[in-house]
């Protein structure tokens, strides 16, 4: 399959797909914006997004757009009347006093539109009611006139909404409108990760966007599971909080910071004697010793810093020590076999090659201690730490030769 295939214009569903993703992501944005721990959200139930907070139900109809100039929300908008239909259908299932209906649009409401009154929950909606009744009447009249004339009735997309509105008692229409809010000019789908990131106050700023992206991945999966009935329809805020904690844990593990790349050991630093004795066995040059001492000091300081900040790091450090020991062992045992018939000076040379492998190639050939770790000194220096413990060595017979 070639990459740059343009989407099939006939079955183009990008906007619809993005619209659904927007529902999912908007639900997360709303849930994370709540302060109440017992808040919960559901997607595609009675409305696009449903939020329960402190006994109140908030219904959201979302009108997403990826256009550079999103369509405005007007009295003649198909989006408005489709929304009205959805809400009227939901009325039998809700307590109106505990419910608010939100039309969330990326587009704007024209400033001279009567719909502007819906942008403020406390405003009077009687003028709007009259305007909407007039619009519904116009739509229905034009449809019946066309029908009588034998023509195709217009406004078919808006008709169900107008009919449902018309069928409501006048007092019920006003009661419904009093519970309606329009949120205009809202964030579009591409901006949601940043909006979520802004709400992750507990996480250091540099990690917030990454955490938001991971949270959104988890959230999308939960929404899909809820639609497939693989989990409960409603997603609790407490579940989201637990997930945020896990993400923080992952980020902590994944972003170890290299603190000592730019430091060298103090002039009077004296390494353990075994470090130099191991190198002497393979006739290491002064440059080999100098590199080993510098790396060992950096790795030792790094390990100390990690563990004094968090004792949990002990098991991670020890686990990685075992990885390095195993990688060394694979090479050392092979070298021992190769050295069986060699002269002592050649054996030493082979050992020097192994030592130099720890400096030059191991940092890129062995998997890093954590995702994204790139500082070479940790692998180089940890091999020296392990050499001091005689868990690794450079000479084929280092254990025998260093036996005191």
């Amino acid at each position: 399959m070639t990459e740059n295939i343009k989407s099939n214009a006939v079955h183009e569903a990008t906007a619809a797909a993005l619209g659904f993703y927007f529902q999912s992501q908007f639900a997360l944005l709303k849930l994370i914006s709540q302060t109440s721990s017992d808040a919960a959200a559901a997607v595609e139930r009675l409305d696009d997004v449903e939020l329960k907070v402190d006994g109140q139900q908030l219904f959201y109809q979302l009108k997403h757009s990826i256009k550079e100039f999103p369509p405005p929300v007007t009295l003649a908008s198909v989006a408005l009347w489709k929304t009205i239909k959805v809400w009227i259908d939901a009325l039998p299932f809700v307590s109106l006093a505990d419910t608010t209906f939100h039309l969330v649009a990326v587009g704007k409401v024209p400033t001279d539109s009567p719909l502007m009154s819906l942008c403020d929950l406390d405003s009077d909606r009687k003028a709007l009611l009259q305007a909407m009744e007039k619009e519904a009447d116009r739509v229905l009249t034009e449809r019946s006139d066309a029908k009588s004339a034998g023509a195709k009735p217009p406004h078919s997309a808006r008709a169900p909404g107008c009919l449902a509105f018309h069928a409501l008692a006048p007092s019920a229409r006003l009661s419904l409108l009093r519970r309606v809010i329009i949120q205009q000019d809202t964030a579009s789908i591409g901006e949601i990760p940043n909006e979520v990131a802004k709400r992750l106050h507990l996480i250091p700023q540099v990690q917030r966007l990454e955490a938001a992206k991971r949270l959104l991945q988890w959230w999308d999966q939960q929404v899909i599971f809820s639609l497939c009935e693989k989990r409960e329809r409603v997603i609790q805020r407490s579940e989201m909080e637990y997930q945020i904690s896990s993400i923080i844990a992952d980020l902590d593990n994944g972003t170890l910071v290299a603190d000592f790349s730019e430091f060298t050991q103090p002039e009077d630093y004296e390494p353990d004697g075994l470090l130099t004795r191991q190198i002497a066995l393979v006739d290491g040059r002064p440059s080999d010793i100098a590199k080993a001492i510098r790396a060992q000091w950096r790795a030792k300081e790094q390990r100390s810093k990690w563990i004094t900040n968090n004792p949990e790091m002990r098991s991670k450090i020890a686990g990685y020590d075992s990885v390095l020991t195993e990688r060394w062992s694979d090479r050392h045992s092979q070298m021992v076999e190769d050295c069986a018939e060699l002269e002592p000076s050649q054996v030493a040379n082979k050992g020097l090659e192994l030592l130099r492998w720890t400096h030059e190639k191991a940092p890129t050939q062995v998997e890093p201690i954590s995702r994204g770790w790139t500082a070479h000194y940790y692998v180089q220096g940890t091999f020296q730490v392990l050499a001091i413990d005689l868990r690794v060595g450079w000479h084929a017979n280092y254990l025998k030769l260093l036996k005191d």
Binding site: L202, S245, I248, A249, D252, K300, R303, S304, I307, T308, N309, N310, P311, E312, M313, R314, S315, K316, I317, A318, G319, D321, S322, V385, L386, I388, D389, R391
Partner: protein, 161 residues
């Protein structure tokens, strides 16, 4: 799992056993009984965590566990992992404490002070940071003691027994 010499030194059992002995004694002052051994597994990682040291600033023995947690919610982030990841360190420390008579494990699973005391001159020989760890675990002992049962302490910290 084999522990390299430098890591062993950072978490050496003698030092950690001395911290636990301090914890047990301060707990006993506040509670009139000894702490369950499980509390040692929460107290020691908290005291050893250098990144949590600033959260003890402005606290004293009377601050209380709940208030400490309320002031610094960051303590609870990954607390379970911190505690679980330190099990070996605490076990080694308890074992060393029992061998050196700093601690004594009772038949009911409580940890009591042993016959030996943490040497008084020890404090003078410690670095400022290490001394602070002893002050911190002393506070933790008081806070745990006044918080109620072991289960309550764990619940307050969002941990499960």
């Amino acid at each position: 799992m084999a522990i390299a010499h430098d890591i062993f030194a950072e978490t050496n059992p003698a030092y950690c056993a001395s911290l636990l002995a301090t914890f047990v004694r301060s707990y006993r002052i506040g509670n009139k009984s000894e702490p369950d051994i499980t509390l040692c597994y929460a107290a020691l990682p908290l005291a050893l965590s250098g990144d949590l040291t600033p959260t003890f600033n402005g606290t004293n023995r009377r601050t209380g566990l709940l208030e400490w947690l309320r002031r610094s919610p960051v303590i609870q982030i990954r607390l379970a992992a911190r505690v679980n990841g330190s099990l070996d360190i605490v076990t080694e420390a308890i074992r060393f404490g029992c061998f050196s008579n700093l601690l004594e494990i009772k038949t009911d699973g409580k940890v009591a002070p042993g016959m030996s005391l943490v040497p008084k001159q020890l404090r003078a020989e410690l670095t400022q940071d290490t001394r602070k760890n002893f002050d911190n675990i002393d506070r933790i002992g008081h806070w745990f003691a006044s918080a109620g049962s072991t289960r309550t302490v764990f619940n307050l910290m969002g941990l499960e027994l």
